[in-house]
Amino acid sequence: MKKFLITIISFALFTIMPANAMVTDDTQDGHVQNKINQIGFRILNSNKIPYRITFFYNNNAKTINAYSAFFDRSITIYKGIILIADDEDEIASVLAHEISHSVDGYQGILRGYFQEVKYLLSPKKYEYKADKRAVDYLVNAGYNPLAIIVMDTKMMSQYRYDVFGTHPLSSRRVMEVYEYIYEKYPSFLAHNKYADNIYYQNFLLTSEKNRKKLEEKIKTNSKKRLKYD
């Protein structure tokens, strides 16, 4: 009898549990996909971006990344991003950056076909551009653009040099974003909702020298582009 009960129980466990687990998993993925769509389309609509861009959630948790595919201008965002994001603005900041790449994918001759070549050849230029456009997109959609700095602090590692890399040094990227916000949307810095955020605090800690450079530039009214460390 005991054996029989154990068999029944273990049978129940093995049959019901995986089924339940699968439902939870799918429901969860569905919700995240929904949320990503809502954030993404909110950015597209409130910025009046007249191009078709789609968003796909990839539930691979180990990857902390997102990308814009050139052939169909779709955007994929990995679960890793969702796991490290602490608020909606932070997820929006990643999407806004990728949307900027996708918008570029529509520009130029042959419906943007050659844009891919340009991206491959001069990727850093487009990274800076995407970061700046992301700031505009976020502000126009009602999000806080400082979320880019918070998110970058968490997810972008620091290489030693960027001469031959595809992306600029992370410290340079966040500083360019900071400078752009300072010049264009200073209210967000004057009333900084992330002032106490530990990641933003870490940005302040690691960007001291660079912020000093910017301070000098602003005080001397210089128009030269700064080379951040």
């Binding site: 429901t27 796991l83 209210s187």
Partner: protein, 255 residues
């Protein structure tokens, strides 16, 4: 892939009687999202109202449960003890008179396909060669009267102000610089649209030449990385088109 999981969802929800849609049908918690809705009069008049608004993001991030249950209360992202708080003194001081940002979503109607445009030319050469900052003001002039129902709405010669939105310097392998201008205004009237301009792209010859060079002298192709593209230039003789907001001329029509 997505279709497949939706199907799976439906099958399982039928099997165990869980309504997976319950979250989507719930009342919206915030009415702020209404501001983002693109109005479609035809649909709203002919359909029953639907609530498909998103809720708080935390409701959706079930994945965070583990973290929430297992983290200690002191491990939060938004509390920094006073003793170790780092201040951004320069920003705090230099921006102390800055008012908080007030968000206002522009109202627009994608149903409307009849728009009025205004043609503009720059007053002088705008080039990425001259040092410029984001936010700098540049000027255009209206090059043709704008008529609507036999009335002139905007006169030729009126000055249009604009702002440098982004400048992106030229890149490696001949990729050109580009500039985006926006925030166009005639007096108080904001015009819709942007002007994007790209410099001359050298990539089209740089790539074949660098490949050929690399064939004859090994690694010499890498030298072409340092060939930069041209500057973006907007000349006074180039005409651009910007859109007059629909509300503006609809108002004129009523008068």
């Amino acid at each position: 892939m997505i279709n497949f999981s939706v199907k799976k969802l439906i099958v399982f929800s039928l099997l165990i009687g869980i309504s997976v849609n319950s979250n989507c049908l719930a009342e919206p918690k915030s009415d702020k999202i209404q501001d983002f809705l693109v109005t479609d009069d035809f649909v709203s008049k002919n359909q029953s109202p639907q609530n498909i608004q998103p809720q708080n993001i935390n409701d959706f991030l079930i994945t965070k449960d583990f973290v929430l249950k297992n983290s200690t209360p002191t491990l939060t992202t938004s509390i920094t003890p006073k003793e170790i708080k780092i201040h951004d003194y320069f920003a705090e001081q230099s921006l102390k008179n800055c008012k908080p940002f007030v968000y206002k979503q522009k109202k627009y109607d994608f149903q409307n396909v009849n728009h009025l445009f205004v043609k503009v030319n720059s007053t002088k050469i705008i080039s990425t060669k001259t040092p410029m900052n984001v936010g700098d003001e540049v000027f255009f002039v209206v090059s043709k009267d704008v008529n609507h129902n036999g009335k002139i709405i905007i006169k030729q010669g009126q000055i249009v102000s604009a702002r440098v939105e982004t400048i992106s310097e030229s890149g490696t392998y001949g990729v050109a610089a580009d500039i985006i201008l926006g925030n166009f205004k005639i007096g108080d009237l904001s015009l819709e649209g942007e002007i994007k301009k790209e410099g001359f792209t050298h990539t089209y010859w740089v790539i074949p030449v660098s490949q050929a060079a690399g064939f004859f002298i090994p690694f010499s192709n890498h030298l072409f990385r340092f060939v930069h593209g041209g500057h973006a230039k907007i000349k006074p003789k180039e005409t651009f088109e910007l859109q007059i907001p629909d509300e503006f001329w609809l108002k004129q029509e009523k008068i």
